[in-house]
Each structure stands twice: as structure tokens, then as C-alpha cells.
Subunit: 237 residues, 2 copies
Amino acid sequence: MSLTGEQGVIAALAASRSVVVVTSTAERVASVLRENVTEGRLRAGTRLPEAALAQALGVSRNTVREALSQLVAERLLVREAHRGVFVATPGPEAVRDVYLARRLLEPAVLASSEGAQQGTDAETAVLQRLRAAVQEGRSGAARGDGDAVGSANQHFHLALVGLSGSDRLQAQAELLLAESRLIFYRMPLAQAFHEPYLERNAAILDLLVTGQRAAAAEHLTRYLRDAEDEILAAFDG
Amino acid sequence: MSLTGEQGVIAALAASRSVVVVTSTAERVASVLRENVTEGRLRAGTRLPEAALAQALGVSRNTVREALSQLVAERLLVREAHRGVFVATPGPEAVRDVYLARRLLEPAVLASSEGAQQGTDAETAVLQRLRAAVQEGRSGAARGDGDAVGSANQHFHLALVGLSGSDRLQAQAELLLAESRLIFYRMPLAQAFHEPYLERNAAILDLLVTGQRAAAAEHLTRYLRDAEDEILAAFDG
DNA sequence: ACCCTAAAGATTGTTGAGCAATCTGACAAG
DNA sequence: CTTGTCAGATTGCTCAACAATCTTTAGGGT
């Protein structure tokens, strides 16, 4: 006799297999390094010698190497042949490239979801995350916590891309935002920079919940263009 | 006295340094594997044992490992913990995700370049590449060479993304197209599949040169949607 | 002082061997 | 026909070593 009842359970278990994250050592090392870079504890331009990292983290040099390669692929680090890997130092060209990609990607996500899935579960979940990000930013600003404001901003944009419903675009957005972070750390006065965008996030969210997606996309485009201009100005000056 | 004449030479050498690709062994191994995957010589699902590859390519297992990790990051290969890496076997979900990303990225490139740089050097170079890709496809079809038609298609789409002028988007597009190739190889009758899109490429190019970018973007969106539908139908049947 | 050269020192790129953990497959037991 | 066990193979990771290359230092000449 077939166990019709248990078949469902088995299928559920098979699905959960992809959820159980079996992190390899290399991945964990990569995570540690990534966090230290995106949190600004490792300044731009810092050299990361393999031997020192291996000893500090208690893993072999080969494992460190694998982690470094991954972060180089993510553009957080830069490898110079026979010289070593360094924390990336995004210059004006990198700023332009990052924002070019973001201006293409983020508004397209908003516009393309036009009328697609209205009121879906996934959709409301995204809106929920957007609201939370706005709230997070406001409370951070109230506390005068510049880093928190910056983080809230990242969360807002990440949630936006979540509207696409694509893992791959989500991953891409994460890379772009991580690199954006590196850029922000190169500017003085991060708090003052991020704060004005807080209310623009709220405005975009408003346009979204009232179904004005095209308008939201346009607003976002201007937003990203303004941010780029402001950053580039800070770099030149 | 400073050697003004030689200074120029030195500067030229310094510039060419970024052109002289200093490929590490691991990168070369990755290239070989990537080519074998995207050219369809390694079928989807094939297992790639580290030891065998190391011996076949005459490099150490560690180097193979580094190359494999890179291709896993590119989604061409899949790693299963303690089981090995396999050539990716894109299922319907992967098809949907790839085409979702492509529908977002490629039309956005067309639309966003609206009125931006008209008649630039870079712009005409891109148009040149697009024309060449169309030509390449037609002659391939005339010869009855299905692979050539497929390659021409890839070149056309790559050139399209070149309109963005962003290295990073270009790289992203290359990954998407490589994965698209894996998908195509999973379908029978690649030639018959690609051929109808040849003339649609030409139509898009026409719209581009006559400045009708929005129309080109729309056409491309329908194009990609049709392709996705056709592929998914082939997968289910 | 200045510039060039050469030797010394340090780090990367790559190799090879080795071991524990884990997966696979076969075979025996219930 | 399911369950348990055990040998064999492969991965994940470590350690040690060496050539190639970059950096620094120390001179030597002018």
C-alpha cells in the first residue's frame, strides 16, 4: 500500500533540504570578511595578506584564498597579480557604473511589476518590508545614528528589488548595495548624506501602495540620479 | 632632463598593462571548463570529479577547485556538499528566472539610452556589432548551421547590452546568456527554435537605427516573452 | 644630494601529499 | 522489501614546500 499521507511529508522534507544551509568553511570565512568590509571596519585600500588572515581566522591559507576569490568576484575586493588583494577603493568611474546599473535595475523592477500581481502574498510581504525599512530609518535618524540610517536605506532598496520576485536579481542587488556601501564609507558626513533620502523613500512607498507604479519608478530614477550627482560632487571636491 | 619622449612610451606601457591579460592558471582552467560547458560539449548534469579534471588538465586539484568555485558562482555549475560539482541542469524555474531577469535588463537598456548619446563613437560601434550579429545569423541559417545561429543570437543580445556602456551590466548579461545557452542545449531542435528570432533581431535593429527606442524595447519584451513561453512549452512536453 | 643597480626579504601562485567527514553502493540480516 | 553495516571513493580542508614576482634596502657611481 502506498502511504499517500506520508508522500506529502516526504515532499516537504525534500523541499526543506534547500533551506538547511550547509555552510562550508570557505563560505563562512567569506561572510566574516564581507561583513567586516561592508560594515566599514576594513577601510578602503587595506591590504589583506593571506597568511595573516589564515592565522587570525584559524584556517588554512588555501581556504582563505577561496574566500578572497569569491569576494573579488563580488567586487568588494580587488586582486593585483603577485601583489595581493585589497579592499576596493571605488573611484568616480565605479560610482558612475554602480549608479548606472542601479538606475537601470531598480526603476525597471517597479515599472515591470505594473499591474502584474496586485495584492499577492509576496507583494504584501514586500510592502511590509518597505514600511519597516522606512520606520527603521526614521527611528535611526531620531537617535542620530548615521549607520542605522544608512542600513535602513539599504534595506529599503533591497526590499524594492524583492518586488521582482527573482532570486538572481535580488543577489545582484545585494552586490550593488554592498558596493554602494563601500562608496558611502569613502565620503564624510554619511548621516547628512542619507537623511534627505529618508522622506523620498517614504514618498516612493506612498506611490507604490496607491498603485502609481510608473510615477514611483520615475521618482526613483530622479532619486538615484540625485544621489549619484551628490556623491560625485563630494569626490571631486 | 626629463625624458618627455620616453614618458609617453612609459605611460603607454602602463596603460597596456591592463590589456595584457595576466591569466592565472586557475582562470585559464575556468575558461576551458566554461567553454566546454557553453559549447555544449559537457552535457547538463555531468559530474566533474576534481581528481580526474586535475589529471586531465595537468594542474593540481587545488587549482581545479578554485576554477570550479568560480563557475559555481557563475551558476554554470552546481556544487552539492560532499558530492561534487555538476553541470547545471536548468529546470523550468531557472528558465523563468533567467527570462525574468533578461526581460527586465535588456529592454531597460534600450529604453534608458533614449536620447542619451545619439551618434557617439561607442554608439555607432554597438550598431556595427548588432549589424554584424544579424549578418552572422543569416549566413549561419543559410548554411543550415544551427549552432552558428544560436551563437549569432547571443552576440546580438550581448551587443544590445553594450548600449548601456556599463562593464558590470555587460558581465551580468554574459552570465545570463551563458546560462541561456545551457537551457537551449536542453531542448531538441535548436536550429528551428532560433531561426524565427533572426528576423525579429533585424526588426529591432531597424527600430534602433531609426531612433524608435521605445518601440524597440517593446518589441524586445514581447520577443523575450515569446521565447520563454516556447521554451517552457518544450520543457513540459 | 640624486639616480641607478643589485641583493635580500616578503608574499603570492601553484603544487603535492595527507586525513577526517561524508556520500555511494553492495551485501547481509531481519 | 526494508533496514543495517561496511568497504570504497570523493570531497573539504590542512600543512609544507618552492618558483615567480614584487618590495625594500643597501650600495655605488656621478
